[in-house]
């Protein structure tokens, strides 16, 4: 079963959440992130479930 990566805008970030800046993403991770933003999903394992990425806003990643 493939798990599609989604990136949802997050209004707030909790103190116990893991936050990465876009600059911390390696090339495979940034490609996966852009695919997730575009709604095209990705079954790449490059990005962890629950991580919040600071891009133009905050985006919480999830897999389902």
């Amino acid at each position: 079963m493939s798990h599609i990566l989604r990136a949802e805008p997050a209004d707030a970030v909790a103190a116990d959440e893991r936050v990465l800046d876009y600059d911390e993403l390696a090339d495979p991770e940034s490609s996966a992130f852009h695919a997730a933003l575009a709604g095209e999903g990705s079954d790449a394992d490059a990005l962890a479930d629950g991580v919040v990425v600071k891009y133009t806003g905050y985006y919480r990643l999830s897999r389902n």
Partner: protein, 415 residues
């Protein structure tokens, strides 16, 4: 085999090196000396903390337990005052001597102060450390009028912080545009408009010739050329970094605008390595020494240094070969610079629509860097072309397509 590794600096370069060394040498002594009072934190995200957008916790990367688990001796609040390269000894401000078999210098830089009257007044901020971010956030929450000086990548962070904290902010730029060596007027206009939308007034051909203070020594105004006066109870200055290398004076370590290292992070001095923002590293892609500070670059340099310091021979080590990138995420559109966008003998640019623009820099026909605004997806392809040292300057019709495939280029992509 060497047994004692000393690392000066616990930023991402030093920390990356420490982790690499421990992975390769489970029984060695690994000592990390830092003049800061806290362990590795996320220097990229401290601006979000200063804006009031993030709490402290997500900024911290390592806690003391991380070092204990790896048997790494972390010594906070420890300033290195000198190095005896022949004797393999590091001297600290407390009078301690720390012996080493291999030494890594990863001390980064300290923001440059403006050489004008009252530039050290209370309320004038530089922005580099987490502690700086705490002071900025606390002060900005009570301040009203701000000026920002420094039309580059760090200055815009200060401008964005002022905007987020709802200060009446003026961003003083010496030239006619922000980051004038990387952006054309078309590209910079996008940034200027975005700043103005956030309430930051861009003031061109302007700078600070002095500051005025009250009787308590707190800044009250910034005075520019022709005695133009800007009310400011908050000032942010970002005009550059001075690298923290005073302790290397008198050693053989070559300094030429940065600590000179080869592609394995080795300095001229035996058993002394350097990594991170302060290096002038040998760039195997361009075939020359270069400087290009960024988080990813520093992390990779630390890893290479850690590997080289523990290897029997550098022939066993993958050299540093990296395309830096640096993003700005303050606005509704993304911004990314990669490689060496301010250099090159040829440039090409295109505007694609509102808040979407791109500029590429070439050197001897090869892509060496660029700036993307609005659409960052092509960055990995551009980086691949840079690593491949591809001769593509005559194919800008393809390169500047909004979306292109590498297969459309007449190029050999072996890296």
């Amino acid at each position: 085999m060497s047994e004692s590794y000393v690392i000066i600096g616990d930023g991402v370069a030093g920390s990356s090196a420490a982790e690499t060394i421990r992975e390769r040498e489970p029984d060695a002594d690994v000592i990390v000396l830092t003049d800061e009072g806290e362990a590795l934190y996320n220097r990229i995200l401290i601006k979000e903390f200063a804006k009031g957008k993030l709490p402290e916790a997500p900024i911290s990367i390592h806690d003391e337990e991380w070092y204990e688990e790896r048997d790494i001796d972390l010594r906070l609040n420890t300033l290195v005052t000198g190095v005896d390269v022949d004797g393999h000894v590091v001297h600290t401000h407390e009078g301690d001597d720390v012996d080493y078999d291999k030494l890594l210098v990863a001390t980064g830089g300290t923001p440059t102060q403006l050489p004008v009257d009252h530039s050290d007044a209370t309320g004038i901020h530089h922005f580099w450390t987490f502690q700086d971010a705490r002071r900025i956030r606390e002060h900005a929450e009570d301040a009203s009028d701000a000026t920002i000086v420094g039309a580059g990548l760090l200055g815009i962070d200060l401008a964005a912080i002022c905007a987020a904290q709802e200060l009446d902010a003026k961003y003083l730029m010496r030239g006619n545009r922000w980051w004038r060596y990387a952006l054309s007027e078309d590209g910079a206009e996008i940034i200027h408009d975005a700043l103005e939308e956030k309430g930051v007034e861009c003031v061109f051909e302007a700078g600070a010739s002095r500051f005025e203070t009250d009787d308590d020594g707190h800044v009250v105004a910034t005075v520019g050329g022709n005695d133009v006066r800007y009310d400011s109870d908050f000032v942010g200055v970002a005009i550059g970094l001075n690298f923290n290398v005073e302790f290397l004076q008198g050693t053989d370590v070559e300094f030429d605008g940065g600590v000179v290292v080869d592609e394995y992070m080795r300095t001229d001095a035996e058993d002394v390595y350097a990594a991170g923002d302060l290096t002038k590293f040998y760039d195997t892609i361009r075939g020359t020494h270069a400087q290009n500070g960024s988080w990813g670059s520093a992390k990779q340099q630390g890893a290479v240094a850690g590997h080289a310091m523990t290897a029997d021979s550098v022939e066993d080590v993958d050299p540093f070969r990296w395309v830096s990138s640096y993003s700005i995420t303050h606005f509704d559109f993304p911004f990314l610079s990669f490689g060496f966008p301010t250099e090159g003998d040829e440039h090409a640019e295109r505007t694609y629509g509102e808040n979407e623009w791109r500029r590429l820099a070439f050197e001897d026909g090869k892509l060496i860097g660029g700036v993307l605004i609005g659409n960052l997806a092509p960055q990995s392809k551009y980086k691949q072309l840079i690593r491949a040292e591809a001769d593509v300057a005559d194919q800008t019709d393809v390169l500047l397509q909004e979306n292109f495939d590498l297969e459309e280029l007449d190029v050999d992509l072996d890296e």
